[in-house]
């Protein structure tokens, strides 16, 4: 089961996802990147049905890239999130719906604000200060209720994220070993080693 977390801080959004690719009870891979870079200031952590996830993520990636090429500027986070939500909502009532859950972290370069959207496979979307998907959400959401600070610097944000990961490792029976962490801020997207 995939686990992903995301949280906002002062001028940045942190997105983390585990790196295991499993089939049934077998780990097939332990360095899978489940966070896609959609545009210079937009990240998307995806989880759900294997196969659907990568296919949908690439579909979104190529469409946002096409928008960027056609208009010379990328979609802003709120608009991108809206378009992605609609894709999922339309897919839900189609013959073969995607079952993909998302965390969209972006930095709006026009208003200079970090933005985070929680999206599920039904097409439910909401703007949140922090969010999580998978079994990790049962631990992370309550931890972040206590320790999240929207005005925290990057180091404090990473400390809060580490707490979530440590708690999952400690309490979850089938906990993943490794996580990939990416951050988006005014300078764009980069990967962080925990």
């Amino acid at each position: 089961m995939d686990i992903s977390f995301a949280l906002t801080g002062k001028g940045y959004v942190l997105v983390a996802a585990d790196t295991t690719a499993a089939r049934s009870i077998i780990k097939m891979k332990s360095d899978e990147d489940k966070i896609k870079v959609l545009s210079p200031h937009l990240l998307m952590a995806f989880s759900g049905e294997p196969g659907d996830t990568v296919n949908f993520a690439e579909y979104v990636e190529r469409n946002l890239r096409l928008y960027h090429i056609r208009h010379t500027y990328p979609l802003r986070p709120a608009s991108a999130a809206s378009w992605i939500r609609r894709s999922l909502a339309e897919s839900l009532r189609s013959r073969s719906p995607y079952s993909v859950n998302l965390l969209l972290g972006g930095y709006d370069t026009a208003t200079h604000t970090p933005e985070l959207y929680w999206v599920d496979y039904l097409g439910t979307m909401t703007s949140v200060p922090f969010g999580a998907h998978g079994y990790g959400s049962y631990f992370a959401l309550s931890l972040l209720d206590r320790y999240h600070d929207p005005e925290a610097g990057l180091e404090e944000g990473l400390a809060a994220l580490r707490r979530c990961i440590d708690e999952v490792s400690k309490r979850l029976v089938v906990s993943p070993g490794k996580y990939k962490v990416k951050v988006v801020d005014k300078d764009g997207v980069r990967e962080i080693e925990l």
């Binding site: 939500r85 609609r86 999922l88 979307m125 909401t126």
Partner: protein
């Protein structure tokens, strides 16, 4: 569990003296797990028409976008704004269009209706998920706490409340009803609509 209860949330609308009020909670959940305490379900459609869309959250957004589109097309073609009574019929036909695969939403509408004399009269209505309209003289409720809302509203509401008293009545009704419902709550928002202004207030509620 029914799909109508999957995300939780409740809405209520009340008639007052030359005013109406509409209020909702702010919770978005996945069954018993709370996801967001800032999920608004009430949308301003025109200056004097507000609609609350409790139910499945994906359809809250989809239906809001759909209604906004149809309302905008009407406004452009007719070169006038839509009246609340017309709007509830638009809501009804939009929902009935999807009779055999419905949007899982039970809309609640509150607005000030223009009368032939040019005055305004309060108007509230609601529909079920396939668009059967309920025109009410006093109040309408919908969502996971609807049974509780009916009970409290039946006890607290009285005719011809002034805007300030109506605000107090609808706020107390909503807050006390959602405290008895696990799927609603986490804060609330209230809109009081009069003929020339709308006052929006955000309420603190129990966060458990």
């Amino acid at each position: 569990m029914s799909i109508m209860q999957y995300n939780g949330g409740s809405v209520i609308a009340m008639v007052g003296k030359d005013c109406v009020a509409i209020a909702s909670d702010l919770r978005l959940g996945n069954q018993s797990l709370g996801i967001s305490s800032n999920f608004e379900k009430i949308f301003a459609m025109t200056e004097r028409t507000y609609v609350g869309l409790p139910g499945l959250a994906t359809d809250v957004t989809t239906l809001h976008e759909q209604l906004r589109y149809r309302l905008n097309m009407y406004t452009i073609k007719e070169e006038r704004t839509m009246e609340p009574e017309t709007f509830i019929h638009l809501v009804s036909s939009t929902l009935y269009e999807k009779r055999w695969g419905p949007y899982f939403i039970e809309p609640v509408l509150a607005g000030m209706q223009k009368t032939p004399s040019g005055a305004f009269r309060p108007f509230v209505a609601s529909t079920d998920l396939i668009g059967c309209i309920n025109f009410a003289k006093d109040f309408v409720v919908a969502g996971t706490a609807s049974e509780k809302l009916f009970g409290v509203a039946e006890g607290l509401w009285e005719p011809d409340l002034e805007p300030e008293d109506l605000f107090e009545t609808i706020s107390q009704t909503l807050l006390n009803a959602v405290d008895r419902d696990a799927y609603s709550g986490w804060g609330a928002v209230v809109h009081v609509i009069t003929k020339d202004k709308v006052v929006k207030r955000t309420l603190k509620g129990r966060m458990d």
